[in-house]
Amino acid sequence: MTGWVLMSQFLSGLTTAMIYFLIAAGLTLILGVLKIMNFAQGGIYMLGAYTCYTFIKAFGGTNSGFWLTLIIAPIAVAAFFCILEALLMRRFYEKVALYMLLLTYGILIATYDMARMIWGWIIKTAPMPPMFQRPVAIFGHPFPLYNVFLIFMGFFMFFLIWIVIRKTAWGKTMRAAADDREMTAALGINVPLVFTSVFGFGAWIAAMGGALVAPMAGMAADMGIDAGIIAFIVVVIAGLGSLPGALLAALICGEVQAFGILVLPELAIAFMYLVLIVVLIVRPWGLFGKPITIK
């Protein structure tokens, strides 16, 4: 195993980890603040990818078109889900948790059919923007420039979300509403509006993930289902609601798989689940989660 082999495997694991993180980050936010298991998260990711595809093509596959797409596409998808949240989901916060689960699952299935209706059956891929079509040399070996961009964006998104939650007034309001809904409402804050904005933010993160993945992968309407499962595994390993946990969990999953397949390629399909099993046995509340105490 030469140094480059290990380095390139580490970097490719990092790429995978960033994708996992982007899918999971929105879910963990929604889970932490709104306390709902959003089964539709994978569907939002998928719609983000498809919307990115449409915009990139509409802008003629240019570099500037790509940047514009990254600004517009996730916001468009998030806006759609904000409306969905206000119309449908708002009614279920106060009800039995099972109803909300069923609703988000129903939304997931609906997004799948929506994608097929709007974009058709045929598999697609978004054209890679011209500026990323050349590799960059890392220690003399070619490494795709887009992967570098993706890794950077993963960390950038982490810090962005962290700052929003911890340092802005909006973030404070989010955390207050999450901790104590009644008290926050009693203080005159429009809690339903806060919840919608949180859901929208979570959706924006997922859609951004989808948009970033679109030029480097093929897309089919069922990609959301696989992504949703990944999101759940990462969030459970992380500890429900923990953002740094989600990053760490994603990194662990990405690197375990990347190095695992060097040694045991036959088990490729299993690595992520093995990490999950180990965590559930050793620390079932997740890496950064808190053990449930009986009050």
């Binding site: 694991g13 045929i122 598999i123 030029p215 992968a217 490729a268 399909i269």
Partner: protein, 422 residues
Amino acid sequence: MKSKMVKAVLFSGVIIVALMLSSLSDVSYAQAKKALPPIKIGIVQSLSGMVSDYALEDLEGFRVKIAEVNDKGGVMTKEGRRKIDLLVRDDMLKPDVAVKNAKELVLEQKCDFLVGVISSGVLLAVSEWCKENKVLLWGWDARTHHATQARGHRYFFRSSGDTWMNGHAAASFWKDQPFTKWGFINQDYSYGRSQFESFTIAMKKMKPGFTIVTEQWPKLGSTDFTPFITALMAANPEAVYTSLWGTDAMTFIKQAKGYGLFEKMKVCGLFWGMPLLRPMGQEMVEGAYCMTEYPFIYPGTPENKAFMDTYKNRTGQFPSDYSVLGYNAATFVLAGIEKAGTVKTEPLIDALEGISVKTIAPAKTITIRKCDHQADYGIVIGKSKKSPDWPWFILEDIQVIPGGPTMRACDEITAERAAAKK
């Protein structure tokens, strides 16, 4: 009380109108009774998910042929011409759903026989059910060779090639090339495993010095292939054999390009034909060895041109290898019905064994072998190349590999089936 009466009157009024309307259709049915009831073919196919567009093309190709025959009044049987109705069900790539579909189509809808399946995993499940229930299943696409070898039986026929043939066809080309160190990347499920098995068994027989330097097994529908690509390259193969298809093939190619993989080693992609080249468009890479059953502009025969035009008029798209599979499947079942004069299972099966039909696709005729009910479908290999005439890449240096020699010997299959029964 008054509203109750109104409701009662309205209700009975609706019943009376309904009865009148149904008796009207009784009248027209009595007149139409002279026509024979249509033949019902049940189709089980994976219409959802990443295999959708291939699956739909199988179906469209089949429909085009059935429409041709229905336009003439139907297929000729002993009783006269009978039209054909197709009842289509989506198995969602799930074996249990497929078996449920099969039961519904045969037991409730009274279909005369079943056609279909694109997923190998699904095929084995449905084939088992058809064997137990003595229902004819015509396989048009799902390729695991186990379905006509160890797990084959009287009630299953396949008009497409299978994974055994694909691997041996590829080996018959690659044995003449100077590469012995091979890397593999395939989806970790029944199809991927069968293709890997088949090519490696064939190469071990045909190529001295053949070594597997690495095998990578990404999950079906993986979002990210990067670690698999770097692991593949780390092992330094001279050539890579892959049966990746659909979005996985697209993702692999797009990501591998960035690593310069295609410059470092030869890549042979099984079934990297139109269904991949078309959606890839200009994102495709040049110089990949693509194996496909229907390389678009080849062969340039009048029959192919006629088929292309009919298909394009009906669906708005150019046909792909999958459309041809569907078309050929329909050609076979229709020829069998005409030969047997009936759709009754046992005589139809007897008629289909050994039948030959003229086809679109590299070979002019295809035959169903009696011992395993497998068609001797050929394949071509060519190198991908940008084209000034089309928005997608085409293939150059095309070589046809006939199906017959790539099939497994009958006595080996019989022996394997006997061993499986023990």
